[in-house]
Symmetry: C2
Subunit: 338 residues, 2 copies
């Protein structure tokens, strides 16, 4: 009955304002690597943790965090060490709601999916084949209902979700432009992900004018990852019967008072559908994502860029970095490579 | 070849800020009550003109008014005096985009529908059987997709559209609460239109608290007629998978700078669909409105309250009155009763 050290990242309390590294604590506990007698839980070795903007949103005092405390709400890839549940057995690779620690004892309901395809990088199950991938797939195809030739705008376009939306849009025959916050990211969008065009929003004091330049005929689908002023400028540039897929509003999560959006009147005359998306609604169709992207990853028709941090001790910095745009691509935290 | 006087209400220019009576002019011209030789236009005697909040919206400098000037953009009920188009003949009653004048010579494309049922008040074709009726019907049923037992909130609920949405909701088996701006209107909602409850928003300094009182379990469908602060409070009280039917934003039309809406983040976690509506998209299904409401009007299962003004000279005041809530029910302007 091996008792081992178990490093953990825990959240001190609800977060207000900008997330700081000091909101999180690195602690060291011990764990016995054996299921308690009669337990139907699962003992996991965590391999890859996912750093996602939505985690900040759940850290506010909005009645959701209680389910996760003292751990930050998050997901990741893990290996089953022991299983008290018939659906899982020792050696299985899984992804789902893990805790930010090296080893976890969790109820089976925390596991979302067993990993079937291991001939792609395992870390992809925090990204293109995980929650962000499902979000991009469901958001673009199921909520956005794209048609060939339509004009698509993606904000935070080099992120975990955005880079996929852009590639899905190109595969669908759409024209797609992305915005991001640095020259390197803009280069990635144009040269690696195949966006038709891209711009650095920090160099565009007038977003409305920028959008009119890239979309002289207007936008059919806006994949919303940032909110606030960007949304307000987009509303002025939507086409009749346009769709706004509201996936995230990263520019707003750290604000005590969100920015006011003033151009919602455009929804009426342009008959715009603006629809929020929670990825959990779409997990029943996860197999469709796998069928769609796994072959395209192998044929290099879709690429996926990750930003890798190593070790739990670097987790808080990686997570905080999401909100000042430090990461380039999907932010992953590696705990163990096996 | 009878030449007669033709009183007209014309718009002086684009409107900025609050609509004033002085933005409109009453003038007197003459018109020959005979079609020009070879014309395929229609000569109309206007009977009832519709006063609608959306008219203010079209009066701003947004590239739409040009189609209407110097007339205010509006609709109404008219009688065909002469017709150069085979679809219409002398004596037909029609409704569509008329001008604010006693007699009009218009292309047939301005006429939307011939009036088939004359055993209901003709003025109803500016309301329950006209544009507002179609708006309420399409907005509630086609965009709102209501289910029995759902909780519905309607703002500007005693207006031309709102009073119908509330009654449609009750006929569908929903719980419905309306807001309006006076005690008389609240009484109408509860005692005449059969809303489950209603409140005067002017007496509710905290709209969020008011909504929590009337919807302790939250709102499934919000029928949006006002925008601004009301929308912001509603967003805090929507249920998961709720729908916001964006029909109008009367509180915003007269503002140079609309109020900022800060609670759009709720769209995401609650997976809310917020969808704008332009009634013109739904005219192909106008027959469904007629089939639904005409029997219910006759059986008194639906009532419709109008606020009647008499004579073109009283038109500007009636139109301006919409924006300070002077009207109780659908505002109609009667030019002639025949």
């Amino acid at each position: 009955m091996a008792e081992v050290k178990n490093k953990q990242v825990v959240l001190k309390d609800y977060v207000t304002g900008f997330l700081k590294e000091s909101d999180l604590d690195l602690v060291e506990n011990t764990i016995t690597l054996k299921l308690p007698e009669g337990s139907n839980e699962i003992l996991l070795k965590n391999l890859y943790l996912s750093c996602d903007p939505f985690m900040r949103n759940l850290m506010s005092d909005i009645g959701i965090l209680e389910k996760f405390l003292p751990y930050a709400p998050g997901s990741g890839v893990a290996k089953v060490l022991e299983s008290g549940h018939p659906d899982y057995k020792k050696g299985d690779l899984v992804w789902g709601f893990t805790k930010w620690e090296e080893y976890s004892l969790v109820p089976s309901s925390r596991i979302l999916f067993k990993i079937e395809h291991t001939d792609v990088p395992l870390s992809y199950y925090t990204g293109i084949l995980g929650m962000p991938g499902m979000t991009a797939y469901a958001g673009f195809f199921e909520v956005g209902l794209p048609k060939k030739g339509e004009k698509v705008f993606v904000s935070a376009a080099s992120g975990a979700v955005g880079q996929l939306v852009g590639q899905f849009a190109k595969l669908t025959g759409c024209y797609v432009v992305g915005s991001a916050g640095s020259k390197d990211k803009v280069d990635l969008l144009k040269n690696k992900f195949g966006f038709d065009d891209a711009f650095n929003y920090k160099e565009e004091p007038d977003l409305d004018a920028a959008l009119k330049r890239y979309f002289p005929e207007g936008i059919d689908i806006y994949f919303e990852n940032v909110g606030g002023k960007t949304l307000d400028a987009v509303l002025l540039n939507m086409r009749v019967h346009g769709r706004i897929v509201v996936c995230g509003m990263i520019s707003q999560y750290n604000r005590a008072q969100p920015e006011g959006v003033t151009n919602l009147g455009n929804l009426i005359m342009k008959r715009i559908r603006m629809q929020g998306l929670a990825v959990t609604d779409y997990y029943p169709m996860y197999h469709k994502l796998v069928e769609y992207v796994v072959p395209k990853i192998k044929e290099e028709k879709i690429v996926y860029v990750e930003d890798i941090a190593e070790g739990l001790e670097n987790g808080p910095a990686a997570l905080v970095g999401l909100f000042n745009g430090r990461n380039v691509g999907k932010q992953v935290l590696v705990l163990a490579r096996e």
